[in-house]
């Protein structure tokens, strides 16, 4: 760690403009700058991740020792037990619903954020981003109070006192509650990439479409929507992966009625002490999240090629 301040010193002189004067080979400086962070990542991120995933292919003896022979038994057990596949489908369903609703609500908000006056833009940006620094536990607690069962829940109080329902509705401890909570927690991850993409669109394009007689809807469908797709892809990937991997929101708002993969990992490892099976469930979650990310990266790079062509 002692090398860190020294490596900090050099870049200003060895930056692109100063390269000619730098005496050391150009890759030594960045290598020294990257060494501490990349070794830290290798030791405390890559290594444990590989260990955990390899555990899912090992056997646990009755005494709790994990070792050879290698086996696919844990994955077979996961896919062959309806209780567990149900948890997988619940996770995918909740993540998909949250992402879809986030898209529908994020477009209007992002459009207003980009096109409205400075004061409105600033206010919306504050309201959207500031909750990101409030603990998810605190925000989810607020939803527990709002969705609470019985007449003491805020929503039920509103519905009962306005006469919209006669008897309290039951929302807490359901998939709907988890979708509402996840939407609240991850909504900024959809709005912000979308707003950046919308902000980059040349306003003349939309003006030209309008001048040529296109309706507002047609302009949106043919110009705004296609040009904002990169931002939309980033937003969808973030919201889907973060929802799929969440723990706090389903634990507080879903309970046993909406069990997700994260809660299953927690249960298998901290309650049942079945490390290999817990590792297998964790690997399924990682596979879901990484494949969504790969698909989105593929789509984005193909999209940029077609624009360039």
């Amino acid at each position: 760690m002692a090398a860190t301040p020294v490596t900090l010193r050099t870049p200003s002189a060895a930056g692109p403009l100063g390269k000619a004067r730098s005496t050391s080979p150009s890759f030594l400086v960045p290598a020294a700058q990257l060494l501490p962070s990349l070794s830290f990542l290798a030791l405390f991120f890559a290594l444990p991740a590989v260990c955990l995933i390899s555990y899912s292919f090992l056997t646990q003896s009755p005494e709790g020792n994990v070792g050879l022979p290698p086996t696919l038994e844990h994955y077979r057990h996961f896919l062959g037990t309806s209780l567990y596949t149900h948890v997988l489908w619940t996770t995918l369903r909740i993540s998909l619903c949250t992402t879809a609703i986030a898209v529908l609500l994020a477009y209007p908000v992002a459009l207003v954020m980009v096109r409205a006056g400075a004061l409105v833009t600033r206010t919306i940006t504050m309201i959207v981003i500031a909750p990101l620094v409030i603990s998810v536990v605190v925000r989810t607690y607020g939803w527990q109070v709002i969705l609470g069962a019985g007449p003491n829940g805020v929503l039920n109080w509103l519905l009962l006192s306005t006469g919209l329902v006669r008897t309290p509705v039951r929302l807490l401890y359901s998939e709907t509650a988890v979708v509402i909570g996840s939407l609240h927690v991850f909504f900024p991850m959809m709005v912000l990439p979308l707003a950046s993409a919308l902000g980059k669109i040349d306003p003349h394009l939309e003006d030209a479409a309008k001048t040529l007689g296109a309706t507002a809807w047609r302009t949106f469908r043919r110009i705004t929507l296609p040009l904002s797709l990169p931002g939309l892809a980033v937003g969808c990937t973030l919201v889907f992966s973060l929802t799929a991997g969440s723990f706090v929101t389903p634990a507080i708002l879903g309970g046993n009625s909406a069990q997700m993969l994260g809660m299953l990992v927690d249960q298998q490892i901290l309650v049942v002490y079945d490390w290999p099976f817990g590792a297998a469930v964790a690997s399924v979650l990682v596979a879901v999240v990484l494949s969504i990310n790969l698909v989105s990266i593929r789509a984005l790079s193909r999209g940029s090629h077609s624009v360039a062509a």
Binding site: S12, L52, V128, V289
Partner: protein, 267 residues
């Protein structure tokens, strides 16, 4: 602004946006309202007005202990993230070398990987190497999740910084150290400060890593509130949550003043 929003479409967009803002603020407003309710249980609408729950929370040893532990942990993790992240950001933003893209992707990869699973993996690693020092284990884990935020904001600031100023200083005969101190650091200072504050809050709020690595003596504040939500039904939980909301809002305002919130999270 030629394409300002006008007409009925604009009204529709503004109404949806207003409703979404209400949705975002609702759980915060409700929590604050409940925290001053003079009732033994959480009820809505709140009855009466009292600040006794705040008095109770501020005398709660467990709460104060968790608060102090979380603040210390977040401070230490932020320092670690700066030590690791700032040099890495310089490498990414100021140099061309083979594998630069891969290095950048690796540095940000903890943001893509499910944090919950990073926590399990670290629990397994610490168990295997027999590291029983809970505070140290938590610190390592928190440095891991906060470093990408520092890398992202600082490299964004470096890319925005005007490089011709450094070149001018060099032409005028300034040394490397002097250029760094007088030109580069002042240019990236707001970005670094905002990134560091954001990293502090990421650690302070973290739940999915801490839940695997904490124990009874090292119980970060989000875990304590989570346990209380399940076991306590009086408005004191709302008072704790309100204190957390006000603290987070204060930090958000400082970040907005220093560098702008959007720049701080580089999105």
């Amino acid at each position: 602004m030629s394409n300002r929003l006008t007409g009925p479409v604009a009204w529709l967009l503004f109404s949806i946006t207003a409703a979404v803002m209400g949705f975002i603020l609702a759980p915060l407003v409700v929590t604050i309202a409940i925290s001053v309710s003079n009732t033994a249980f959480v009820v809505f609408p709140p009855h009466g007005f009292t600040i006794k729950w705040y008095g109770q929370v501020l005398r709660d040893r467990e709460f104060l202990g968790s608060l102090a532990f979380s603040a210390g942990l977040a401070l230490a993790a932020t320092c670690g993230a700066i030590l690791l992240g700032v040099p890495a950001a310089f490498a990414i933003a100021r140099h061309q070398f083979p594998g630069r893209g891969a290095a950048a992707a690796a540095l940000l990869s903890p943001l893509i990987f499910p944090v919950l699973i990073t926590g399990v993996a670290l629990l397994q690693l610490f168990a295997m190497i027999g590291s029983n020092y809970t505070a140290l284990n938590l610190l390592i884990a928190h440095i891991l999740v906060t470093t990408p935020y520092v890398v992202r904001t600082v490299s964004a600031s470096l890319m925005l910084a005007d490089m011709t100023l450094e070149e001018a200083a060099r032409t005028l005969g300034a040394g490397r150290w002097r250029i760094l101190r007088r030109i580069t650091v002042p240019q990236i200072a707001p970005g670094l400060a905002a990134g560091a504050l954001f990293a502090f809050m990421v650690s302070f709020d973290n739940f999915p890593i801490s839940m695997w690595l904490s124990d009874a003596e090292h119980n970060p504040i989000p875990l304590l509130i989570f346990q209380r939500i399940a076991s306590v039904f009086e408005p004191s939980v709302a008072a704790m949550s309100t204190l957390m909301i006000f603290f987070a809002m204060a930090v958000a305002l400082v970040v907005e003043r220093v560098a702008g919130l959007r720049r701080a999270i580089a999105m």
